[in-house]
Amino acid sequence: MYEFVTGPLAWVSFGIFLVGMTVKTVSVIRLALKKDKVVFNHFSLGWSLRSIFHWLVPFGSRSMREKPFFTAVTFIFHTCLLVTPVFLLSHNILWDERWDISWWSLSERLADYMTVLFIAAAIVMIFRRLVSPEVRIVTSASDYLLLAVVMAPFVTGYFAYHQWLRYDTMLIIHILCGEIMLIVIPFTKLSHMVLFFLTRAHIGSEMGNRRGAATW
C-alpha cells in the first residue's frame, strides 16, 4: 500500500495538479484574449507587480490593516501551508532517496511548531466563518469542506510524526490526504494559488494604469 500511494498515486496526483494548473492558467489567458480585451488595453507590468507585491506583504494594503487580527491569521495560515510541506525534513529525505534531489530543510522542532500554528490558524478561520455575520452569510458547505481538505494533511502528518495511533496506517492516510489536496486544487477556488497573480495583475493595471489609482 505504501508503495502504491508513494508511487503511481503520487505520479497521478502531482500530474493532475501540475497539468491541471497549467491548463487552467493558459485557458484563463486565452479566453481573456478572446473575450476580455479590456484586460489588455491598459495592461502594465509595473502596476501589476506593485499590486501583487502590496498584497503579498503582511499589512501591505488598507483592507488588511483594517482587520489586523484576521490578516495575521491568514498570513500565518498561508505561510505555514506553503513552507512546511516543501521544507519538511522527512519530505526532503523522500525526494533525496527517490530522485536524488535535495534542498534546505526546516528543523524538526520548527516544522512541528508550524504545523500546530497552521492548525490553530485554520481553526480560527472556521470559527470566524461561524461567528462573523458578514462572513457567515457568504459561507457555503464547500468553504468548510475545502478547509478540511487543506487541514487533513497537517493533522494526519502531525499524528504520524508523533507516532500516535498506528504509525503505518496514519502515514498512508497522511499521504492520501496530501494527494487529495493536490488533485482538488485546479478544480476549486484553491486555484487562487496561481490565479491570484492574474487577477491582481489585471486589477492593478485596470485601476493603476487607467486612472492612476492604487489598489492597496
Binding site: 483592507s63 458578514e134 457568504v138 486555484s191 491570484f196 486589477i203
Partner: protein
C-alpha cells in the same frame, strides 16, 4: 393583473456574453473571506447588516442568475433589481478591498444590463435613455433651445463682460467644452460662468451643437448600447471639429 413575462432567452444570451475570463475566474476564486464588507457604505450605514456586504449582493444577483441558468421568476428579478440599483452604486470601493481584486461593480453593471432588458431599470433612468436617443442629451433639450440658451447668456453678460462669445461648432478650437444637460435646462448661468473663465483665460474653445452633454445615465441604467452611443457622440463631435481636448464640466 398577470405579471409581465420574463424573457429567459435574452437573459441567457446576455449571461453568455459577459461570461469571459474575468467573470469566470472571479466567480470561481472568491474565497468568501469577508474583506469586502467594510468597504461598502451601504453595509456600514445599515449597522453592518450582512445583507449589504458586496460579495453577498453578487451571489444574490449574478450568482443566482448563473446558478439557475437565467430561469428566474419575475419576483426574483425584482429582488435583484432592488439590490443592483438600490443597494449598490457601483463605486468599486470593494474592488480595492478585495485580496483578489475582484471587480464587483463590473459584475453589478452586468446585472443591471440584464435587468434593463426586462424593463426593470428605474423609470427615470429609462426616461433619460429615451431622451439620449431622441435629443442627444438626457433632458430633452433641442439643439435650437441649446443655441438659444447660449445666445441668451451672451446677452445677459454683455454689460459685465463685453465681447464675450459662446462659440458653437467652431472648427479648429483647442478645447471642446461639454456640460451636464441640467446646466442648459435649469442653470444656464453655469454656462455663462464657464464662458467668462474661458474668455478671461483667452482660451480657444467651442461647444458642439450635438454631443455637448457629458453625462451618461444610460451607463447607470445598464443600457450599454445607449451608453456607448453617448460617448461616441461626444468623441465624434470633437473629431469633426478638430478639437485637441474635450473639457468636462463639474
Amino acid at each position: 393583473m398577470a405579471e409581465p413575462a420574463v424573457n429567459t432567452d435574452i437573459i441567457r444570451e446576455k449571461l453568455a456574453a459577459v461570461k469571459g475570463s474575468r467573470f469566470k475566474t472571479w466567480l470561481q476564486i472568491c474565497a468568501h473571506c469577508g474583506y469586502c464588507a467594510d468597504s461598502c457604505f451601504f453595509y456600514l450605514a445599515h449597522d453592518k447588516d450582512p445583507k449589504y456586504m458586496p460579495a453577498y449582493k453578487v451571489m444574490k444577483t449574478l450568482g443566482r442568475l448563473y446558478e439557475k441558468k437565467g430561469k428566474v421568476s419575475r419576483t426574483e428579478l425584482e429582488e435583484m433589481a432592488s439590490i443592483a440599483y438600490g443597494d449598490c452604486t457601483a463605486c468599486r470601493r470593494c474592488t480595492l478591498y478585495c485580496p483578489f481584486g475582484i471587480d464587483i461593480a463590473v459584475m453589478m453593471a452586468a446585472v443591471r444590463g440584464i435587468l434593463c432588458t426586462q424593463g426593470l431599470a428605474p423609470e427615470n433612468l429609462m426616461t433619460a435613455v429615451q431622451s439620449y436617443y431622441d435629443f442627444g442629451n438626457q433632458m430633452s433639450v433641442t439643439t435650437e433651445d441649446f443655441v438659444d440658451t447660449c445666445n441668451w447668456m451672451v446677452e445677459e453678460t454683455e454689460e459685465e463682460v463685453p465681447g464675450l462669445k459662446i462659440p458653437i461648432d467652431q472648427p479648429g478650437a483647442d478645447l471642446m467644452y461639454t456640460i451636464n444637460a441640467r446646466e442648459a435646462k435649469f442653470y444656464p448661468q453655469d454656462i455663462a460662468e464657464a464662458a467668462i473663465i474661458f474668455h478671461a483665460a483667452g482660451e480657444s474653445w467651442t461647444f458642439p451643437s450635438m454631443g455637448w452633454d457629458d453625462t451618461n445615465l444610460a451607463m447607470f441604467a445598464g443600457e450599454m448600447k445607449c451608453a456607448a452611443r453617448n460617448v461616441k457622440m461626444v468623441y465624434d463631435a470633437a473629431k469633426k471639429l478638430g478639437a485637441k481636448r474635450i473639457g468636462v464640466s463639474e
